[in-house]
Amino acid sequence: MKKNSKQDLLWIYRKMKTSRYFEERMEKAYLEGKQPVFNIGAGPVPGEMHLSNGQEPAAASMIVNLTKDDTVTATHRPHHQAIAKGVDLKKMTAEIFGKKTGLGKGKGGHMHLFDPIVKFSCGGIVGAGIPHAVGAALANKKKGTDRVAVAFIGEGAVNSGAFHESMNLAALWNLPLVVVVEDNSWGISVSKKNSTCVPTNDVRAAAYGIKGYGVRDNDPLKMYEVSKEAVERARKGEGPSIIEIETYRYLGHFQGDPELYRPKDEVSKLRAKDPIERLKKYLLEETLASEEDLRVLDQEIMKEVDNAYEFAINSAYPEPEEALEDVFV
């Protein structure tokens, strides 16, 4: 790890922590109004809720290499990437609470966060964001910029037709695209072994004559290194690549998932290797930060997140008739 990466590593730590804390609050907010009897449609945050606790390295260690003008497309599990990309946290939280002040005026919801200012989008259809990233990369190239586009997807999405068509296009047109596969072992209840005919998806780069990288064991440092290389290559016009990171899904697929399909101790084993803790240890050991530095940082983070929740909670709901607006511009 090069010396000049100190700033980057602290940034990664901050973003991972922000996402983690944001989601811990979200887990609670989601359960409001759903106790003692769970009802998916009840409470201030209704609908499906996909949390990314444990998967933070995939997002933060990649996005540290991006600027505001690079594009990110994400999935149904979008908070960690959105936070790393710098999506307006207040508006994002308000959106998840269905408020008028939200990114989509309450029309989108947690799976549909759009912040064109930092070029972030996501969506609820598996695989569908990859072509959008291809299009952004194409636009970047057409405009003669060195901007890149990054598509985040789950390992399950790699088996969708959209993945294949997109990778072929990106390679054929030599576009500045990086696809990050967050391999959390599961697509809802279907294990990677039961969905994917090859052990790791980086080998699939061969089908497109592009670079494929693998990151083992949710390692934020390795992810940083590899992402940096992939993004730099894309910026220099050296074409697209695929990065697959082995990551952890601490929670159910969505909140409310009974998780009967996975071993009871899987998560506790994963939690013992928590990537935020690992990075913290590294920062301290390498004296890139002191305990005190991190404590202060943590407090900043909590304040930022708490402010966002406060904003969201205090914002007004849209008027019913606003449902009819924004179909067309």
Binding site: E48, K107, G109, M111, G161, G256
Partner: protein, 355 residues
């Protein structure tokens, strides 16, 4: 998506099995029972889909079947709808009887080619020499803030295209009977089940989602609507949740001296004209309520049929209630505004009787 039982109380609607011949089942249990009984009867039936195995189907359609039939007959698939729904076509052409689940109807766009250009047309293009006995199960409906890509019904998107029978039963009894009919039909059948009517412990609890279901095997026709409440002043036509809302509205209309007849459409394609026309001949007035989009939807088709063939009976223009041609918004207040409910129906009826 049953909620984690270790963490929270669930309102279990499903009653315990008894020795009675007819017991109350939820929609989801009615589906699973139909599937189980038919799979026991015919070894050629198998099920493919995402999370249909151990998980038992995200909306409980295959609950308990993996344990009974194993992974050879209850096959979890990758997220490859074109691949596995297309594979169902190939397997059906070889004489098997695949049942495939498209988890949410909202995802049909990734696989519509296989559904409407192949599954629906091969029997015709082959001059009848290839049979495709496939049931496509798919969950429809909104009302629980799942937003624009997970809340649609898309009844008409399927109903418009030839070569498929399309059904959308409401009550557990019909769910079982129509699913068995669908499985036994030698043609492709799209079987839409409404999430909220599955009687799942983690969604809204509705009386309608629990109902008497005979234990024995029986079939219910795939092409018949059903008068679920008789009345003489106005006919309200609904499907699935809109039938439920129509019944609610009818109860309240009594207080206002209006006696509404409620028809549960059940079959999206073909539409059972006779039942509609017979009713309107009696009432002279009709409200059609749909949880799908307004334009080119059920309200259009039913209105057109009745306005044309029941022209002389109509005392007032037919009223159409449906999602007003906007995507389904997330926020509860917005979603509630776009999906018709009992109040909207009552208003429509009141406007109409004063026409």
């Amino acid at each position: 998506m049953p909620f984690d039982r270790t963490r929270m109380t669930i309102n279990y609607l499903t009653m315990e099995a008894t020795k009675q011949i007819t017991r109350k089942l939820t929609g989801s249990k009615a589906m699973a029972q139909a599937l189980e009984q038919e799979m026991n009867r015919d070894k050629n039936i198998f099920i493919m889909g995402e999370d249909v195995g151990k998980y038992g189907g995200i909306f409980g359609s295959t609950t308990g079947l993996y344990e009974k039939f194993g992974q050879e007959r209850i096959m979890d698939t990758p997220i490859s709808e074109t691949g596995f729904i297309g594979a169902a076509i190939g397997a059906a052409a070889e004489g098997l009887r695949p049942i495939v689940e498209l988890m949410f109807v909202d995802f049909h766009g990734v696989v519509m080619d296989q559904i409407y250009n192949h599954m629906a047309k091969i029997p015709y293009m082959s001059g009848g020499s290839v049979k495709l006995p496939i049931v496509l199960l798919t969950a429809v409906g909104g009302g629980y803030s799942d937003a624009a890509q997970h809340s649609q019904t898309l009844y008409a998107s399927f109903g418009h295209l030839p070569g498929m029978k399309v059904v959308a039963p409401t009550f557990p009894n019909d769910i079982k009977g129509m699913l068995i009919s669908a499985i036994r039909d030698d043609n492709p059948v799209v079987f839409m089940f409404h999430k909220t009517l599955q009687g799942l412990g983690w969604m809204d609890q509705l009386d309608a989602s629990l109902g008497p279901v005979p234990e024995e095997v029986y079939t219910t026709p795939l092409d018949k609507a059903k008068v679920v409440r008789e009345g003489k002043d106005v006919t309200i036509v609904g499907v699935q949740m809109m039938t439920v809302e129509a019944l609610k509205a009818a109860d309240k209309l009594v207080e206002r001296g209006i006696d509404a007849e409620v028809i549960d459409l059940r079959s999206i394609k073909p539409i059972d004209k006779e039942t509609l026309l017979k009713s309107v001949a009696k009432t002279g007035r009709m409200v059609v309520v749909d949880e799908d989009y307004y334009s080119y939807g059920i309200t259009a088709e039913v209105s057109a049929i009745v306005a044309s063939e029941g022209f002389k009976h109509l005392k007032a223009p037919i009223a159409r209630l449906a999602i007003p041609d906007v995507p389904i918004p997330y926020s509860r207040v917005l979603e509630k505004y776009v999906i018709p409910d009992a109040n909207d129906i009552i208003n429509a009826v009141e406007n109409m009787v004063t026409y």
